[in-house]
């Protein structure tokens, strides 16, 4: 006869530590990053984000390899390899594809699957929820822009004739310039994505809508801005993908292209204002939407 005993473990009320709303927001950030990368999700959810990240890192690795082969950053630039501001253009399509799935993935499934009714029954506000999601977006978007730039910077420093630390010291301004330029892209893309992601539930549809607005819509706006209608030039302000590039050139003092707002006669500070307005409008829009959903 066995001595085994069946225990009913029952239920024990939780009497442990309770953290505040900052911890709640942190949990949302962690969950958001996992969701974007497909971590603790089925394998097929990991394919797209990790593929794009891998391509981004591979491009950085190839560039650094070429840098080593050519011996210096100056030599590499002379041979046609990209400089710091040009790296943004090199990565822009990969980054754009990656960003296109971030906010839709952060917002859409919660809404489509009805999970918001559970989340908002917890001690947190709509602001906490959206702050957590926005932080997750910024962390991931900054990663896709800044990790390759950082690797490139460190590679250039390692090859510098004056030494690694000397190069870093001489190029301190690159830190704020690269960061500021990256945030131009992150903010305006985030603003557009917030509006799209607030309404389109399916990630693939939302991503396609975002890319359509940015790429096709931007060119359409540019073409309209060149017509003879009074005030037509203001249509160039809707070429959202051109604003961060125009501001990037302003920051680096470079001239890497011709942008619709520039052709319509706007100064780069106008593009900076548009970036801020789109970001703030997107945030306000999504907040208003979620106040109704909560």
């Amino acid at each position: 006869m066995t001595d085994a005993v069946i225990y009913d473990r029952g239920y024990k009320a939780y009497d442990g530590q309770r953290l505040g709303r900052r911890a709640t927001r942190r949990a949302i950030v962690k969950d958001g990053i996992r969701r974007i990368l497909g971590i603790r999700r089925k394998a097929r959810r990991k394919v797209l984000p990790w593929s794009l990240l891998a391509i981004g890192l591979l491009m950085a690795a190839v560039l650094i390899g070429q840098l080593f082969l050519l011996g210096s950053l100056a030599g590499a630039t002379a041979e046609g390899l990209p400089s710091y501001p040009e790296l943004f253009d090199l990565y822009s399509r990969i980054a754009l594809l990656f960003l296109a799935i971030t906010i839709p993935e952060l917002l859409g499934p919660d809404r489509a699957q009805g999970v918001l009714s559970v989340y908002f029954s917890r001690p947190m506000s709509v602001g906490d929820y959206l702050t957590g999601k926005a932080t997750a977006y910024v962390v991931m978007a900054a990663s896709i822009y800044l990790i390759p730039q950082t690797l490139f910077h460190l590679g250039a420093a390692a090859l510098a004739e004056g030494g690694f630390l000397s190069y870093l010291g001489d190029n301190l301004d690159m830190l704020w310039k690269v960061t500021a330029a990256a945030f131009g892209f992150i903010l305006i893309h985030g603003g557009v994505l917030a509006v799209v992601g607030a309404y389109v539930d399916r990630t693939s549809f939302a991503a396609a809508t975002f890319l359509g607005i940015l790429l096709a819509g931007g060119n359409l706006a540019g073409v309209i801005s060149e017509t003879a209608f009074p005030g037509a030039r203001f249509a160039s302000l809707l070429a959202f993908d051109d604003h961060p590039r125009y501001v990037r050139d302003w920051i680096f003092g470079s001239d890497l292209g011709s942008y619709w707002p520039e052709q319509a006669g706007f100064d780069p500070w106008v593009s900076l204002v548009v970036i801020v307005v789109v970001a703030v409008t997107g945030a306000a829009w999504v907040y208003r939407r979620y106040r109704r959903l909560a």
Binding site: A13, T24, G114, V118, S121, R122, P123, M124
Partner: protein
């Protein structure tokens, strides 16, 4: 000695208007500790009331206090001590049960390590220990309902609001879910459960709140329900002639099928009914004071159907 207990919910003159629609109309009630049923037809205001208790909707007028917290002024404090199980689909299909329940615990301020432990414990409690690492999209309706119940208690709330917890379940699943809800009451968790199925409420709850078209029609303990002076008479053929006769005699009969119920009256009412049966040549199968089921009481008071 009389045991005095503070109400877990105190609502005073609560009114909710959505445009021209009045979802709740000057509802005032107190809910005692224990398991309470919230019943009413579609559109009666049950979900609006549950959302009011969570502080998710701002009332047009009136006040709501839950576990001593003002749900209007401080909804975050209320949600810290309340758990909620929504009616509809509310689970992420691409997460495992353990991950989702642990995440909802973290949202309530439980540290990550404790959250994972609590998730395992509560999933065990609802009978999903073996399945906790499976994706929620692969779960049956019954299993999903259990996960929803688990997330509502994982953070150790003092009160749990369950919105149609047995919805979509087969008979066996329904019995198991009701048993789980009774267990929660046994563990000292206060429960407010809304349901269309009034027999479920009778089986599970100690007290009941009835709503009809936004109005409160009854609030109190379930065991006080049968003490009314209702008299029922079951008629062999068409009950209408006898019902008409009783109406002419000054009574207030309600006809449901072949059963006429007279809600008020003393023992002399029996004589009136017998005289009426003789006068209308109605054959009587049964006459007497019978315990009124919750469904009968709802039909009598609301004059409608509960679902």
């Amino acid at each position: 000695m009389t045991l005095v207990t503070e109400p877990i919910v105190a609502i005073d003159a609560l009114t909710h208007r959505f445009g021209s629609i009045v979802a709740l109309d000057h509802v005032s009630l107190e809910i005692p500790p224990g398991v309470t049923g919230l019943v009413g037809a579609n559109g009666a205001g049950k979900t609006t009331m549950l959302r009011s208790l969570l502080g998710l909707v701002h009332p047009t007028s009136g006040s709501v206090h839950v576990m001593g917290h003002d749900a209007v002024a401080d909804p975050i404090a209320v949600r810290g001590v309340v758990g909620y199980m929504p009616e509809g689909s509310s689970l992420p299909k691409d997460q495992t049960a353990a991950d989702f329940v642990a995440f909802t615990a973290e949202l309530a301020g439980v540290p990550p390590k404790d959250a994972r432990r609590r998730a395992s414990e509560t999933l065990y409690l609802v009978g999903l220990e073996e399945e906790r690492f499976r994706y929620l999209g692969d779960f049956s309706t019954g299993m999903q309902q259990r996960v929803k119940l688990a997330q509502s208690i994982v953070h150790g709330p003092q009160l749990v609001l369950l919105d149609e917890p047995a919805s979509g379940l087969d008979p066996a699943g329904r019995v198991q879910m009701l048993a789980l809800i009774r267990r929660l009451g046994g563990f000292g968790i206060n429960v407010i459960v809304s349901s269309h199925v009034l027999s479920d409420i009778e089986e599970t709850c100690q007290s009941v709140v009835m709503l009809d078209a936004g109005r409160l029609i009854r609030s109190g303990p379930l065991d006080a329900r049968g003490s009314s002076a209702a008299i029922t008479v079951e008629v062999l053929d068409d009950p209408q002639p006898l019902a008409d006769h009783l109406t002419r005699s000054g009574l207030d009969p309600v006809v449901i099928g072949h059963v006429i119920t007279v809600t008020t009256g003393d023992d002399s009412t029996f004589d009136v009914i017998l005289d009426g049966a003789a006068a209308t040549s109605s054959g009587i199968l049964r006459l007497g004071r019978a315990a009124v089921t919750l469904e009968q009481e709802f039909l009598l008071q609301a004059g409608g159907t509960p679902s």
